[in-house]
């Protein structure tokens, strides 16, 4: 009988590949950067990566249930607009503001969950529609870009610790350890994987499908709002930017896939999605460092995305049984 470790490491294969790719790219970036491995460079990269990383984490949870959340980008933007009004004033006011933004994220997620679970609508179209609603709310809060933010708070969030470790990375790690890990090991988390693997079998096995799905979307909303908070701290303002929201949504899907989570549900995880997010972000950085016009970015992004998923597909293609190719 095979050893335990074979089984434990096997599902992490895709994650390791993504991680290797990420480290290679980042290493290349650092080596070519004029300022080298300095605190500033690390900080900027970390902040940008963490933004997408958090949104990618948000996207991961519904994807595990074989669903999708096309509104994460808009929740992200909405949280940004809300935070730009609430994260001002004294520390206690700021703290309350943070809680209010998180609560809003939860509510958005709850609405998504309600429409998908209670309304029994397909997630793609349901979250497309709710995304429009969140966009509208964001516009209502911030018809014009603006706002003010408690500067001490913002600087702390986007700054680095003494050793040069960016706080945003600590935040990311913190969310992974304190939110994702407990979720994954909980009954609700395992239920999410079960639902993605086979919703019918999960139902027959008494898994609380409705509750777990609902929770998945709520969690997505929460994580997207954390990303919105981070954005507000970075830009010191709020903007109801639909294009930004849309691009974050699509990039989050790409990050999730690069990180090894299957769009069909049932396998993968948030750690991979964070790695995938950093892979995507580093592309832009690499272009900058090699003195290429940023207009090449979409092209490279697309190529990296296709190659990384294509590699995963090659394994399937080598299968000797043609029948296995068809679901």
């Amino acid at each position: 009988m095979r050893q335990d470790w074979v089984y434990r490491l096997s599902p992490l294969r895709k994650l390791f590949v993504a991680l290797a790719l990420c480290l290679a790219m980042f290493g290349l970036f650092i080596s070519q950067h004029p300022a080298g491995f300095s605190s500033n460079v690390l900080n900027t990269a970390a902040n940008k990566g963490a933004l997408l990383g958090l949104v990618a984490m948000a996207q991961t949870v519904p994807v595990l249930t074989a669903g999708l959340d096309l509104s994460v980008g808009m929740v992200f933007v909405l949280s940004n607009c809300l935070a730009s009004s609430l994260l001002a004033g004294s520390s206690s006011a700021t703290a309350l503001g943070v809680l209010a933004v998180l609560a809003t994220g939860l509510c958005c997620g709850a609405l998504n969950g309600a429409v998908v679970v209670l309304g029994r609508l397909q997630p793609i179209i349901a979250t497309l529609a709710t995304g429009a609603i969140y966009h509208g709310l964001a516009l209502w809060l911030r018809p014009e870009p603006g706002g003010e933010v408690n500067e001490d708070f913002a600087d702390f969030i986007t700054g680095s610790f003494a050793g040069g470790v960016p706080f945003s990375l600590v935040l990311l790690a913190g969310v992974l350890l304190l939110v994702w890990l407990p979720y994954r090991l909980s009954v609700a988390g395992r239920a999410a994987y079960a639902i993605g693997s086979s919703e019918q079998a999960a139902h027959m096995s008494g898994v609380p499908v409705a509750r777990a799905k609902f929770l998945a979307y709520v969690l997505a909303g929460l994580l997207a709002s954390v990303a919105g908070l981070l954005l507000t701290c970075l830009t010191y303002s709020g903007e109801a930017n639909a294009a930004l929201g849309g691009s974050y949504t699509l990039n989050s899907i790409a990050a999730v896939v690069i990180g090894g989570t299957s769009l069909f549900g049932g396998s993968g995880g948030a750690v991979g999605s964070v790695v995938g997010a950093f892979v995507l972000r580093t592309i832009g950085d690499l272009l900058f460092v090699f003195d290429m016009d940023p207009m090449w970015q979409p092209l490279f992004l697309g190529v990296v995305l296709i190659i990384s998923v294509g590699l995963g597909s090659f394994r399937l293609l080598r299968s000797k049984n043609r029948l296995e190719l068809y679901r």
Binding site: Y7, A201, S205, G266, L323
Partner: protein
Amino acid sequence: MTAMLFRMQGVSKRYGGVRALTDAHLECERGRIHAVLGENGAGKSTLIKVMAGVVTPDAGTLELAGKPLATGNPAAASQAGIVTVFQELSLLPDLSVADNIAITHPPTRFGLIDGRAQRRLAEWALSRVGASDIHPLAPVGDLPLSRRQLVEIAKALARRPKLLILDEATSALAAADVANVLRVLRELRDEGLAIVYITHRMHEIAELADDCSIYRNGRHVSTFAASSKSPTEIIEMMIGREYSNVFPPRPEPKPARAAALRVQKLSWAGRLEGIDFEVRPGEVVGIGGLEGQGQRELLLALFGALNGVRGLVEVNGRQVSLSSPRTALLEGGIALIPEDRKTEGLMLRMSVRDNLSFAAIDQFSRFGLIDRKAEEAALSRMLELLQIRSDGFDQPVASLSGGNQQKVVIGKWLMTGPRIILLNDPTRGIDVGTKQELYRLVRKLADADAAILFYSTDYDELIGCSDRVLILYEGAIVRELEGNELSERNIVASSHNLTVDEAGNVS
């Protein structure tokens, strides 16, 4: 302690216009195995689902250990100790065996799932069903079907049921595993567990059941002690009419003709090793052997569904390329009735008509456009020939019973006028009445000069339908049985790569 553990009375359920159950009742005692029998559509599935709380009955009561049980509430049934092993596996392919076994009530510690306790539970449950060789951390999707069914049973046992319901729980198991499971069930019964057991296999009833109940058309027909009636009597009660010869008679041996299908040195990926055989037109050649010895792969290979097949395949003297099912059909006139009709044979949401005409649709197309009249005419002929029973042929094919669904699958291929017909365990999960119709159909097709390759896991069927039988062992043909040699004992022996001499000694 009351002897009667479970009692169900007056249960009725309608689905639209169809009465699935009318005034059904069932009683089960502790320490007894109660077999439930009936054709497809007799209401057994609905009965089980009502007991498990998955389906809410329109009328009727359930009672467990003297206390009334809420209907339509799977959680309540589960709490009360009713555990069901359904026919459709309820396993999650991406999760590990241990995760699956503990999925319903995972052991927790501080609110999180306790992996170690879960693993201990899984190891205990697996050893209970005699499957200790399955690693608890293996993803269930990687296991072959028969192992998965064992995991399903282990999962049920892990819930420490008071009443265990098994719906065709052995249908996918290899013979050795079946013996194991039957033994475990007997042990559990002796320990005081109440078991309700649904099966189509007569010899399992003989080995297992204490009591039998028969259902027909949603109504209870009779309950009796298992040993008190003969298999023939039981079958007659199930189908409601006299039960005569199951298998159509074999025809007179024909003069030898050139082979319709000739296979030489067929090999594939270590699962098929140098297979040589011939099938003449009008012959029904059976394929037997233990499960997983390459039978399924052989049929798939001949149909063009496998990559990298080596060897020679000739139809009527001309070589056929096996690059895809399309070429298999176009070049060789080869048709395959696949193993799983629901996922491989039918498009469930499409209508009966659309499914039937699907493979042959090009025959009715001119310049790409479909000639509806020609299609209709051909469809009517096929529906007539196969006697397919349905509420309406524009209904989705999912609404048909298993037997009628299988007829649609067969009809779909017959419409293409195949010369070689491959049948992959066609009567699995099909009621007795339809089975007989299928046997007659197979013989009729052979008489019309088709060459038929018939894989079955049922010995009686294999013997009754085939002119000769090829036994596969580890991907190669080890024995060919014909005439007097074609007996169950020989099949069993050859399946294990042994021979039985005239004195009945095995070597």
